[in-house]
């Protein structure tokens, strides 16, 4: 296959240890079989072998997809893959903004960064011109200032002070407000003495069949508008609309997942109140009609659902303004808001006290600066709780703090946390859609029955979606069929929805094999003990049922009873 449509057929490689830059054409089967984004990144990181997360040999792989840089709705995202210093797993994180489209227009499907620079540097890319430049003057600055200083050169992905100091909760921020948020990926960048990557492209992405592309694009746009979750929720309120829904369902975690009944009035945190009090403006990623991001009248970003949920009731902070400020601090230091809130929830339980608004801001700064108690908190909930001899108080899976949905009330989502390849994450299977938002079809959130199959299908589905790289929110209204059709129109390679699901399954298995190679096992596919032992709102996860569901899930994946992919399963997937 000559991949000249959709893909650029070119991967840029930078070795910071040697100061070398080169590029290569990937095998056609790599692009065809892994598409791009998360899939391409996973395969490249897997092939690099076993490394320590902070070793120069660990890679940072920024990967776009074949739809990136086209005007396909919701296709402006870009993926980052590496080994996580927080979880020790293979890790990918994707974000919106314009970094992905610029990378594609510059002529690259992906950028691989290896090695460690002796000096502090940033990378500047403008089409074929690639420079490794000194960053001494940027070092010590936070994200907003760094972005402001570099943005005339292109789209900026950078770390703040947290990444420089290799805080395990550090993020990489794209265009200042879009986060490669989770897993401490910013710390990996800091460990390489790399402050930022700036990319500008002047090219374009060739499309195989423009007429068909436009037809499919129009169909996708129409379906997006017709989706109630988008038209009545995301486009009207942004993600905070979920606050009222999770509160109504009694799945919003309170007091570090110890209950679901807050001690204070939650209505200031509801989207409608935020609209009334803050008059948010809509903000969209590249080529996205959903426009789910929100900013205040001065153009400052407002927090998303997960941040609001976890920085309010879960740490017993009753002040929305403090959440807004903490969110901005996290973005500026380059910190993952979910993990910061998760470790603060853990701290509050260990100390048996809530986190006041002032403490929320103070601790966030301390984590970002790696100062005082902030140093221990910056290890994440798993290590912090262990250091306090209270491991049972860390609400995490494989070291990654859980998002703002109590698994006892959304059991499929909980099961997907347990089996996630990157730890406690809601976006791997995104069962938020059927279990909470009832799309594409409502499924009973209060039972584990049937959830092994749902989890597998949704995990595979979103592994493929993350490889296109398309926003998950588009799938409230659009299915694999439509995106398979647009992918075919763009690339000239015939993809069906089944093909996409197979690609997703292949990616999931590559990630699984990576984690097994790192020493993870069946025992890591579980949830914090309290979800099996303590009821909230009359609900608990039955351990026996959970274990049976896990066995069923392994069987469905073609894995052994210990969760190891069989040779036959790997062969079927071409791994």
């Amino acid at each position: 296959m000559k991949a000249v449509y959709g893909w650029k057929n070119k991967i840029l490689r930078i070795d910071l240890s040697k100061g070398e830059v080169d590029s290569f054409a990937p095998e056609a089967s790599l692009l065809r079989g892994y598409i791009g984004g998360r899939g391409l990144g996973a395969k490249i990181v897997y092939n690099a072998g076993q490394v320590d997360a902070f070793s120069p040999a660990n890679l940072l792989v920024f990967a776009a997809g074949p739809l990136t840089g086209t005007t396909t709705p919701a296709s402006g995202r870009v993926s980052l893959s590496t080994k996580s210093p927080l979880t020790g797993t293979i890790f990918d994180s994707n974000c919106g903004g314009s970094f992905g489209p610029e990378l594609k227009k510059a002529g690259y499907d992906a950028l691989i960064i290896a090695g460690k620079s002796q000096e502090r540097v940033f990378i500047e890319i403008e089409d074929d011109k690639v420079d490794i430049r000194p960053a001494e003057k940027l070092w010590g600055k936070n994200v907003k200032e760094t972005t402001s200083l570099l943005k005339n050169k292109g789209s900026v992905a950078c770390i703040g002070r947290a990444g420089e100091k290799q805080v395990l909760l550090a993020a990489i921020m794209s265009d200042a407000v879009h986060a490669f948020g989770r897993g401490g990926v910013g710390a990996v960048m800091g460990s390489k003495n790399l402050k930022a990557v700036v990319v500008k492209g002047t090219g374009h992405v060739d499309i195989f069949d423009r007429a068909e592309f436009l037809k499919q694009k129009k169909l996708i746009s129409r379906l997006l508008i017709a989706s109630p979750t988008i038209s009545k929720g995301l486009s009207v309120f942004g993600t905070p609309f979920l606050m009222k829904i999770t509160s109504w369902m009694r799945i919003l975690p309170v007091a570090n997942f110890r209950k679901v009944e807050p001690d204070f009035n939650l209505s200031p945190f509801f989207a409608k109140s935020i609209v009334e009090q803050w008059s948010p403006q809509r903000r969209a990623c590249y080529s996205c009609p959903i426009a789910c991001k929100r900013e205040d009248k001065e153009g400052n970003e407002l927090p998303e659902y997960e941040t609001i949920g976890l920085m309010s009731a879960n740490i017993q902070n009753p002040d929305y303004s403090a959440v807004v400020e903490a969110n901005r601090l996290c973005n500026d230091y380059g910190l993952d808001t979910i993990s910061v809130a998760g470790v603060l929830g853990c701290y509050s339980e260990i100390r048996n006290k809530g986190i006041s608004p002032a403490e929320l801001l103070r601790f966030t700064r301390m984590i970002g600066e790696k100062e005082g108690m902030g140093e221990q908190l910056g290890w994440g909930a798993k290590l912090f709780s262990a250091s306090e001899c209270s491991p049972e108080k860390s609400i995490q899976v494989k070291g990654l703090e859980l998002p703002a949905y109590d698994p006892r009330g959304v059991k499929g989502l909980g099961f997907s946390y347990a089996t996630s390849n990157r730890g406690g994450c809601h976006t791997r299977a995104y069962l938020v859609a059927p279990e909470i938002l009832r799309k594409p079809k409502a499924i009973d959130p209060y039972t584990l029955a049937g959830k092994a199959g749902h989890t597998k299908i949704f995990q595979d589905r979103f592994a493929a979606v993350d490889s296109l790289v398309v926003c998950k929110f588009a799938f409230f209204g659009v299915g694999e069929e439509e995106y398979a059709n647009v992918l075919s129109a763009v690339t000239g390679v015939d993809y069906t929805s089944e093909d996409l699901m197979l690609v997703g399954e292949r990616i999931w298995n590559v990630e699984r094999v990576y984690n097994l190679r790192e020493g993870f096992s069946k025992d890591d596919d579980t949830l914090p003990e309290r979800f099996f032992e303590k009821k909230v709102d009359g609900r608990v996860i039955d351990r026996e049922e959970f274990l049976k569901t896990r066995d069923e899930y392994y069987r469905m994946r073609g894995w052994t009873e210990n969760g190891v992919p069989t040779e036959r399963a790997l062969k079927r997937l071409g791994i």
């Binding site: 829904i245 938002l437 409502a442």
Partner: protein
């Protein structure tokens, strides 16, 4: 809430809705209780949300409320209704497809004539603004309407009254269909 749960079950038991289809609501001041999207009407326990009835004031829970929440809002705004029931009963749907939008189904049996007088047929896609407008307009002067190829909307001062209307529309359409068919055979 218990009332909606009770009548949701009655609607399914009487064959006035099936599977996940149909929705029910009750007005309480400036708000309404309404069944959630994808819920089964005979299993509404824990499946009813409270949202504003003001069309200019969308609610976060609209996302999981019935997809026809906007139709309910428009009806509450245009009429004195305190309860709205929506079903997909067979004869009402069949009869709606034998009439054009804007036409009236005139019942044949005495009870339906007394209760309903006549049944407007309206047009509009599921949950669409067009349906909201047309249903609200038609329900100003009538207690029950049929959406072409879709189902019945019934309003009442109580949930019980709306249920009477919902079942009366189906009864009227059943009798009418049978009588019209019998007439054709006898001719």
């Amino acid at each position: 809430m218990q009332e909606l749960i009770k009548y949701g079950k009655k609607i399914v038991d009487a064959g006035l809705a099936h599977s996940h289809f149909g929705n029910v609501s009750k007005r309480v001041g400036d708000q309404m209780l309404i069944s959630t999207t994808g819920s089964m009407l005979d299993e509404l326990e824990g499946q009813i949300v409270t949202v504003s009835i003001d069309p200019a004031s969308p609610d976060e829970l609209d996302v999981i409320a019935s997809t026809e929440v906007n139709v309910h809002r428009a009806i509450y705004k245009a009429t004195s209704a305190l309860a709205i029931l929506h079903g997909h009963s067979k004869y009402a749907v069949a009869m709606s497809m034998l009439y054009k939008p804007g036409e009236l189904i005139v019942p044949e049996d005495a009870e339906s004539i007394y209760v309903l007088h006549e049944i407007p047929v309206v047009r509009g896609g599921v949950g669409s603004d067009e349906l909201a407008r047309n249903a609200a307009t038609a329900l100003r002067d009538h207690k029950g309407i049929v959406v072409q190829g879709h189902g019945t909307f019934a309003r009442g001062a109580t949930v019980d009254e709306a249920y009477v209307i919902l079942s009366s529309v189906e009864h009227a359409c059943t009798v009418k269909y049978l009588v019209d068919g019998a007439k054709r055979i006898s001719v």
